[in-house]
């Protein structure tokens, strides 16, 4: 069965690249452009994994993550936070609590990223 991945990213170009690459690798991909939208979509569509940006308008990724984990339907979904190394400090706590994994955007190729997603969903 095809796995469902939600991409929450405000940068439309980055989102497009991610969505396309994931689709090419046989994932069902849904997208959202901020935390608010991401939270609603995640609860409604129940994805297997969320790729989550941190710095976004309306609602940032960290707020969305915390809200998601408060909801019954959002406790189990795997979350990979996509961050800039500058924002690492912000999510360190979330990572320590084990509520997400993370990848530093500029340190990873799209190929590696897709590879990671596959590994997570095995």
């Amino acid at each position: 069965m095809q796995k469902k991945v939600l991409v929450v990213e405000d940068d439309s170009k980055m989102r497009r690249v991610l969505v396309d690459e994931l689709k090419k690798n046989n994932f069902v991909v849904i997208e959202a452009e901020n935390g608010q939208e991401g939270l609603e979509t995640a609860l409604k569509d129940q994805p297997d994994l969320i790729l989550l940006d941190i710095t976004m308008p309306v609602m940032d990724g960290l707020t969305m993550l915390n809200k998601l984990r408060e909801e019954e339907g959002g406790k189990k979904v795997q979350v990979i936070v996509l961050t800039n190394s500058g924002d690492l400090g912000k999510i360190a706590e979330a990572v320590e609590r084990g509520i997400c994994s993370y990848l530093v955007k500029s340190d990873i190729t799209t190929e590696d990223l897709v590879g990671r997603v596959k590994k997570f969903l095995e």
């Binding site: 980055m14 710095t55 924002d87 955007k105 990873i108 799209t110």
Partner: protein, 579 residues
């Protein structure tokens, strides 16, 4: 014949005359020599006095101190029973007497009256009601000695044109104190007083300058003596802590106003006790930021040299610096979003496109886009990290991580760049390296990114970049361990750089590039020098800031970083993380 006698007589006469003349001359000469000798002795004495004066007083402006030295030296060339001086102070007259040979109380009283009279005459003032503080030293007063004052000499003490007292010598013998000796005494007192006068002038000028400076500088300055009594507190210091301007300001005013923000008294005591400057940053007083420096003040010359005289506290207002710092931080986060994200997009998109089948020239152009965006992204990342390192905000989050996995991923990550530069990337792993070691994987990725991208840049076409990992056991020969593991690097037996290294994970990135000379190696990890080198050589190879970041990250792991190289053969950049 008579001619001969005449001639002989003439010769004898001449000889006699010449002889007499010579004798006269010689005796004159003797007298001259004696006189000169005497003169020289006196000049030398004067010089000695003045020199002693300078040394012993240590340029102190204590006139009394100076007079003490003069009177103390007098007995070397003048006979006297008693030497004394009177010195006028605002509320009293100091009368200091040194008794060389015992005299009676009456003798002293006689001198005292004479001196009082001469002071009154000199200053045209009545001192009869002024309190006189008498300080007597030397031989005992003996009432049985009925000898009166028979010789007496009195010299006014003048400083800056003002009579400040009188100096006296007196004896029981008659006819002492020849005019000649007295002229020297005059000369000495005159020179001493003129020295003091000019010194006073210099000091008061300096004092005025210093005061003007203290009043006008923006730094708050508080000076205290040894007992932490405040000598000077300039307006800036009072403003800084918010003390109203008042005359008698004490250290407790500062203690009270500073409250728990800065223990001024404690720091003063600590600074004096340890004899060193203490600096405390970021003290917030009345919503402004201060750097406060406390230093001991030491005497710099004279016999009191190096003696601690007190301490000084400087309040340096760093609020503007803090504001600039905030602006820089804002700028930094602006860079993150406005520069880094789009660059990352360009890089990722070109990377995706590069994998597609395209015409030769298209893929070449895409390569350019990929390469340039990678370089710019690298630069932005380095700038951000260097800024963070400088601000001391560099944190590492250690977690059990798989170094081999990370290295493999890096090799893959740089495949496109390497292919473009026609450089091969290889990996070599020591079979002993543990599956997980404790370090910050993202930071180590950054370290590797920097080292690998440098290696690719500096390697000729068809060259090789090798990323290698090795487990080093404490006490083992690291070169032997490397040999066994099949690791190739430019470290040799002479490399002492590892020093005493405990159990460590050692990672090396070795290239077959242009190599580095000794003096270049020493400059590699310094930001300033890197910038300079990059500027002066006009290299396209980037700022070299990456290595500063590498060092920062490895230091934060308490590890060590180094480089070994052979010119025109290649370089190995390595780091060791303690495990």
């Amino acid at each position: 014949m008579p001619d001969i006698f005449v001639t002989l007589a003439a010769v004898i006469a001449s000889i006699t005359i010449v002889g007499c003349f010579c004798y006269w001359k010689t005796s004159n000469l003797k007298k001259d020599v004696q006189k000169n000798e005497e003169k020289m002795k006196r000049s030398m004495y004067e010089l000695a006095i003045l020199k002693e004066l300078g040394e012993r007083t240590g340029y102190s402006l204590n006139v009394q101190n100076i007079i003490d030295i003069i009177t103390g030296s007098l007995r070397q060339f003048i006979d006297y029973s008693v030497t004394s001086y009177m010195f006028i102070e605002p509320e009293k007259i100091i009368f200091k007497i040194h008794v060389e040979k015992s005299v009676s109380r009456e003798f002293i009283n006689d001198i005292k009256n004479r001196m009082m009279n001469s002071l009154s005459a000199l200053l045209n003032k009545d001192f009869s009601v002024t309190h006189i503080e008498e300080i007597l030293s030397g031989a005992l007063l003996v009432e049985d000695i009925k000898e009166p004052v028979r010789s007496f000499f009195n010299i006014p003490l003048v400083i800056s044109g003002r009579v400040v007292g009188v100096l006296t010598i007196a004896d029981t013998k008659v006819g002492l104190y020849r005019e000649e000796e007295m002229s020297i005494l005059y000369k000495i007192t005159k020179q001493a007083s003129s020295a003091v006068s000019s010194l006073q002038e210099v000091v008061s000028t300096e004092q005025r300058k210093l005061n003007a400076m203290m009043e006008s500088i923006s730094e708050g300055v508080v000076m205290t003596d040894k007992d932490y009594k405040i000598m000077v507190a300039n307006p800036a210091a009072k403003n800084a802590v918010g003390i109203e301007s008042k005359d008698d300001i004490s250290i407790f005013d500062f203690v009270e106003k500073l409250g728990g923000k800065f223990d001024i008294k404690g720091k003063l005591e600590e600074s004096v006790k340890l004899d060193k400057s203490l600096s405390v940053d970021d003290v917030v007083i009345n919503e402004r930021f201060f750097q406060i420096v406390v230093s001991p003040v030491k005497s710099s010359f004279g016999i009191t040299k190096n003696e601690i005289l007190g301490a000084v506290v400087i309040f340096h207002d760093i609020t503007p610096m803090k504001e600039v710092e905030t602006m820089r931080q804002d700028f930094t986060s602006m860079m993150v979003h406005e520069l880094r994200s789009p660059l990352d997009n360009i890089k990722k998109i070109s990377e995706v496109l590069l994998k597609k089948k395209a015409s030769k020239s298209d893929s070449e152009y895409l390569g350019f886009v990929f390469q340039d965006s990678s370089q710019m992204l690298e630069l932005v990342n380095d700038l951000l990290d260097v800024a963070k390192l400088e601000a001391g905000k560099f944190e590492v989050y250690k977690q059990p991580s798989d170094v081999a996995q990370i290295i493999k991923e890096r090799a893959n990550f740089f495949k496109t760049s390497a292919k473009f530069a026609k450089v091969k990337i290889e990996t070599v792993f020591d079979k002993n390296i543990p599956e997980k070691t404790n370090f910050d994987p993202n930071r180590i990725v950054q370290v590797l990114n920097n080292l690998i991208s440098n290696a690719i840049k500096f390697t000729h076409k068809e060259g090789t970049v090798t990323i290698q990992a090795l487990l080093h056991k404490a006490g083992q020969d690291i070169n032997k361990e490397a040999e066994v593991a099949g690791i190739k690097w430019f470290l040799n037996k002479n490399s002492q750089s590892f020093g005493v290294l405990g159990d460590s994970l050692v990672v090396a990135v070795t290239d077959t590039g242009i190599g580095l000379s000794e003096d270049k190696i020493s400059q590699l990890f310094s930001k300033f020098k890197q910038f300079r080198a990059a500027m002066s050589e006009g290299e396209k190879k980037g700022t070299g800031l990456g290595l500063v970041v590498v060092k920062g990250i490895v230091d934060a792991h308490k590890g060590m970083v180094g480089v070994a190289s052979e010119e025109n053969t290649g370089s190995s950049f390595y780091f060791a993380l303690p495990i």
